[in-house]
């Protein structure tokens, strides 16, 4: 993870501030920075989204390709995650430097997306033979703290934006199957992202915990808890990161905060995505040059 060097006095200032619920930029312990979400930014993908949270910038592209289902789950499609930490984000990611962080994030995404997050049966075309595989590619453009939350928001927005073409399986007299793509390019199936979870990272600083830590605050925290929460407040996965230790009471408190904040996060994201969709295809696109 990208890190900044801080002097002892700066760390002391940040820690004392958190205890009094007034962080360096005036936020409270449970406030997020301002988030910008835009979908459909990459034209040759099935779905894409770009999310900017403070100085953190994430781009996610989803490509739907046809393949064979996994042997143990013949009636379902599946998702594959790949995370690329671009050297643009921070000089530490130059060359192979970003690979470790990329694999860690990808593994976390695999864990939080369990069976009920996305309806995998809808991705099946014909059992044991054809299914849709969704390749989700995450690109880190800028690293400003709180990576996991932003990546999850971007993945959810990209999946919401994904349009999978409708296909029909035709069987002729000899029994050989043919797959026919619909002629209308707008005839597609959409995924339901109701149950896709969002990650809330809670960093323990001093005796309290904060949500959406900046790079400086992350440098003051020895232990963090990643809680993955669905829109109804159900916790699907929990993971502790960092060298420090957490006692069980703190873990419980942080989990409760994560659930609360997670529900608000989901509600906010849903309203922005619906608002963007209601603006229709004629909405002004900002993209990368705005």
């Amino acid at each position: 993870m990208a890190s900044v060097a801080l002097s002892e006095a700066e760390k002391v200032y940040i820690v004392h501030g958190v205890q009094e619920d007034l962080r360096v930029d005036g936020r409270g312990c449970e406030d997020y920075r301002y988030v910008e979400v835009e979908t459909d930014v990459v034209s040759n993908t099935s779905g894409s989204a770009r999310v900017k949270l403070g100085h953190t910038d994430i781009l996610v592209g989803v490509k739907a390709e046809m393949g064979t289902p996994k042997l143990e789950k013949p009636n379902e499609g599946y998702l594959e995650f790949f995370v690329d930490c671009s050297a643009n984000a921070t000089p530490e990611f130059e060359g192979r430097g970003g690979d470790d962080l990329g694999t860690e994030i990808a593994n976390t995404l695999y864990r939080i997306f369990n069976k009920s997050s996305v309806d995998l049966k809808s991705l099946c075309i014909s059992p044991r033979e054809h299914c849709w595989i969704l390749y989700v590619d995450v690109l880190l453009l800028e690293c400003g703290g709180n990576l996991f939350d932003t990546i999850c928001i971007a993945v959810k927005a990209a999946l919401f934006n994904t349009r999978i073409p409708r296909v029909r399986v035709l069987e002729d007299e000899e029994g050989s199957k043919d797959i026919e793509l619909s002629d209308d390019p707008y005839d597609c199936i959409r995924l339901s992202v109701e149950n896709v979870p969002c990650i809330v990272t809670l960093c323990k600083i001093g005796y309290r915990h904060v949500v959406d830590a900046t790079l400086q605050e992350e440098a003051c925290s020895l232990a963090s808890l990643l809680v993955s929460v669905t829109s109804t407040g159900v916790v699907t996965c929990m993971r502790k990161v960092g060298k420090g230790s957490l006692d069980p009471e703190s873990v419980f408190e942080m989990m409760e905060t994560g659930k609360r904040v997670g529900k608000v996060l989901h509600a906010s994201l849903q309203s922005v995505l619906h608002k963007e969709e209601s603006l229709g295809p004629k909405r002004p696109k900002v993209g990368f040059l705005g």
Binding site: V12, G26, V272, K275
Partner: protein
């Protein structure tokens, strides 16, 4: 608890919102500034093929017979006498260094210093020979582009709102609580680690958000502009200053006040 998500909005070009009458003469490297050879050439220009050509991207400034190009965004170039705020990244490893300095300064510490000399390759040598320079204690660091820090007589300001600020010429701005006793300046080598009061913290956080707003609107940073921005931001909550529309409103008001004060 607040989570606010929005759709992105394209940035408006500044000239629309400001309504400037005199358009600045903007140039990019390689542009001809003038073919008149009567001018003296200043920073950011060079003479080629009997015309004056710009070597940096910025706006042309003319003072009588001197033409120079002021770059909009640059790396810091040291000048003798500049005040800088810097962070120690590495140190010379020698026996005397280990014995003497490590007690005072560690890697990661912030110091304020003055530029003593500039070498030909651009490296600067710093000195902290008076007690007002030295290790910095508790406070907040904001990093901005060096071209936005206005050159003034003094860069150490004690603002009337209750905090002090050091405007480093290298773009590092240090905001800290005003020390109560005048003998203990920002420098020295012992840091005070007592908790800072909530009122002081609020002032410091507000100042930090004001400086960030001024920087996003590309306004020059000096004590008056920061103070006016602080006063214009008082009706809003500190964390609301992070929202783009409130930032614009506050900076617009600051700009108005500064124009009134000049005119």
């Amino acid at each position: 608890m607040a989570v606010e998500m929005r759709l992105p909005v394209a940035r408006k070009p500044l000239s629309e919102s400001v309504g400037r009458d005199t358009k600045k003469h903007l140039v990019v490297p390689g542009d001809t500034i003038t073919t008149d050879t009567g001018f003296m050439r200043g920073h950011g220009t060079y003479m080629g093929e009997e015309k004056l050509i710009a070597s940096v991207a910025g706006s042309v400034e003319r003072v009588n017979k001197l033409i120079c190009v002021k770059a909009l965004k640059t790396r810091y170039n040291g000048e003798v006498g500049d005040i800088v705020v810097g962070r120690i990244t590495e140190r010379r490893r020698s026996a005397e260094d280990e014995l003497a300095m490590r007690g005072f300064l560690q890697e990661g510490d912030l110091i304020s210093a003055e530029v003593q000399a500039v070498f030909s390759d651009g490296a600067v040598s710093l000195h902290t020979r008076s007690l007002k320079y030295g290790k910095l204690g508790q406070g907040v660091l904001v990093q901005v582009s060096p071209s936005l820090v206005k050159r003034q007589k003094t860069h150490f300001h004690d603002l009337p709102c209750g905090a002090s600020v050091i405007l480093g010429n290298n773009g590092f701005i240090w905001i800290y609580p005003t020390p109560e006793h005048k003998e203990e300046d920002a420098g020295g080598f012992t840091a005070n680690l007592e908790p800072v009061s909530l009122a002081d913290r609020e002032v410091i956080s507000r100042l930090r958000n004001c400086i960030v707003s001024l920087v996003t609107q590309r306004m020059m940073l000096y004590d008056t502009s920061i103070l006016y921005c602080y006063e214009a931001s008082l009706p809003h909550q500190i964390k609301d200053l992070l929202k783009p529309e409130i930032m614009e409103e506050v900076v617009m008001e600051t700009r108005q006040r500064l124009l009134e004060q000049e005119g």
